[in-house]
Amino acid sequence: MNFPTRQTMALPVRTLASIYKPRYVVLNIAAFVVYYYAYLELIAYQNLGVFLSNVSEGLLYALVFTSSMLLTIAVYSIRNTRNNRASVSATTLGTVATLFGGVIGGCGCSVPVISSLALVGLSASEVVSLNNFLADYQNEIFGLMVVANLAVIFFYLFRLSSASCRIPKVAST
């Protein structure tokens, strides 16, 4: 079994550094703000317009930050590589994670979005049970989503590190 070498492990870090030029830093910040306010609005919608959440702030910021990183990597991939390996799925996962976080974060004794599952066939017992679970394990689920985001980030950084993924620069004449 071949373990990753130090050189191999350094590649995604170098790729990350090459991605985060000023324009992509700005993009990441913008994505962070959009995702954060999307989360706020989802929570407030379920709480009479008041942002009330039992999820720890650190986990919230970590989820929103890693989701915004995924979007940034996706945009970089579209503009700078052939095959667009990270573009669509990275964008999807980051957005889904934030929105799903907003649904989970609103679970509990307000009128959660999750209760609308009753309209698609879940019984009252199943909806209530699911709401209870999500309300009680919000922090753990957020932690798992952050870990999942980080795993996908590293996966795509490794893929973007491969030589075949890059568009060769054309020499100016």
């Binding site: 709480n47 009479l48 317009g49 008041v50 942002f51 009330l52 959440s53 039992n54 095959n83 667009n84 573009s87 669509v88 799925s89 999807t92 996962l93 889904v96 509990g108 004794c109 307000s110 009128v111 959660p112 209760s115 599952l117 009753a118 309209l119 879940l122 019984s123 009252a124 017992s125 199943e126 909806v127 209530v128 049970s129 699911l130 709401n131 209870n132 679970f133 309300a135 009680d136």
Partner: protein, 322 residues
């Protein structure tokens, strides 16, 4: 393009499998309802933490006097403030559904289906008590808190709830009125050591102590289904012909600028809460009275020979806006 679609599909399939597994766990593995309490350890009365001081203790007579027999001017002033946008906390209008009233012994009814673990219910109980006090009298209320996992909100309990048992239901209150009936149903779960827990209306009906309570819970289940809500949340309420799914107020303190565990209601002593309510000189008190006005405005149209509170100009103005 096909490669991108495949990638998206792969990600979505993984997400669906994960979510399906979570949902399947509840459908296939966790049996029935009312068995989902997270914390099941019992806590002895002698080891109640200071943050839950007095939980379950009956209100003293002076504390009851902060709720019972309050001047009608408080309700009028708070109603005016609500109508002119001066209430700092959130008191929502326009959220009532309409259904036929539950008439028992010739009187319409107020029914509240709540969970003692629930912070939403906790914030709304003060207003509900104030509104009921405008139509009758409490001979007992009890010191309460929402669960530690729901920010430990200072509140009251209608009855002697079991805040340590894994699960249960407490029916009833110590309230009497010549204008209406009051049916309080509370789902009990471990408050000091646990988080939010709720149940189905069917579970509440199964544990009803007699035919009257069975009829009340069945009525609420029928009302919820008729109004299109198959999984009613905590604080599902009937006030005359007005039905609310969830509380109508988010009252955190004297403003809503600080939320979550830092919100004032997460650290409020009952003495302070009652002093503010009876003092009627800050947003916490005005907000609770304003929310009470909404409940009053919801029930007054169902009453025959209504009491003076229903004639207050602010209540009359609110009746069409609940």
């Amino acid at each position: 393009m096909r490669h991108a679609i495949t990638k998206v599909a792969s990600v979505l399939i993984v997400l669906v499998l994960v979510l399906g597994g979570v949902a399947g766990y509840f459908v296939l593995v966790r049996p029935g309802m009312g068995t989902t309490a997270v914390a099941t350890s019992k806590i002895s009365a002698s080891s109640i933490p200071a943050t839950y001081a007095g939980i379950g203790d009956p209100f003293t007579s002076s504390e009851l006097a902060s709720i019972n027999g309050q001047p009608l001017s408080n309700y009028q002033t708070a109603g005016e403030m609500l109508l002119n946008g001066s209430i700092a906390n959130t008191v929502a209008l326009g959220r009532a559904n309409h259904y036929q009233p539950l008439v028992v012994n010739g009187k319409p009814s107020v029914v509240v289906l709540q969970a003692i673990s629930c912070s939403d219910c906790a914030m709304n109980r003060w207003a509900q008590a104030l509104s009921l006090a405008a139509f009758g009298n409490f001979t007992a209320l009890y010191v309460g808190y929402s669960a530690s996992g729901t920010n430990h909100v200072t509140t009251l309990y209608w009855g002697q709830d079991n805040y340590t048992a894994a699960q249960g239901v407490t029916f009833g209150s110590s309230y009497a009125s010549k204008y209406l009936n009051f049916y309080a149903v509370d789902y009990d779960s471990p408050v000091i050591t646990g988080g939010f827990q709720w149940t189905t209306l069917a579970y509440l009906a199964q544990h009803a102590p007699n035919s009257t309570w069975q009829a009340v819970t069945a009525f609420m289940e029928n009302a919820s289904n008729a109004l299109g809500n198959k999984a009613p949340p905590t604080d599902t309420q009937l006030w005359g012909s007005s039905v609310w799914f969830g509380g109508i107020a988010v009252i955190l303190g004297n403003s809503t600028s600080v939320t979550g565990t830092a919100a004032p209601v997460s650290h409020l002593s009952h003495e302070s809460a009652l002093a503010q309510i009876s003092g009627f000189s800050d947003q916490y008190a005005w907000s609770n009275y304003a929310a009470a006005d909404v409940y009053i405005a919801g029930v007054c149209p169902s009453l025959t020979g209504p009491p003076p509170v229903c004639s207050l100009p602010a209540i009359v103005s609110l009746e069409g806006r609940v």
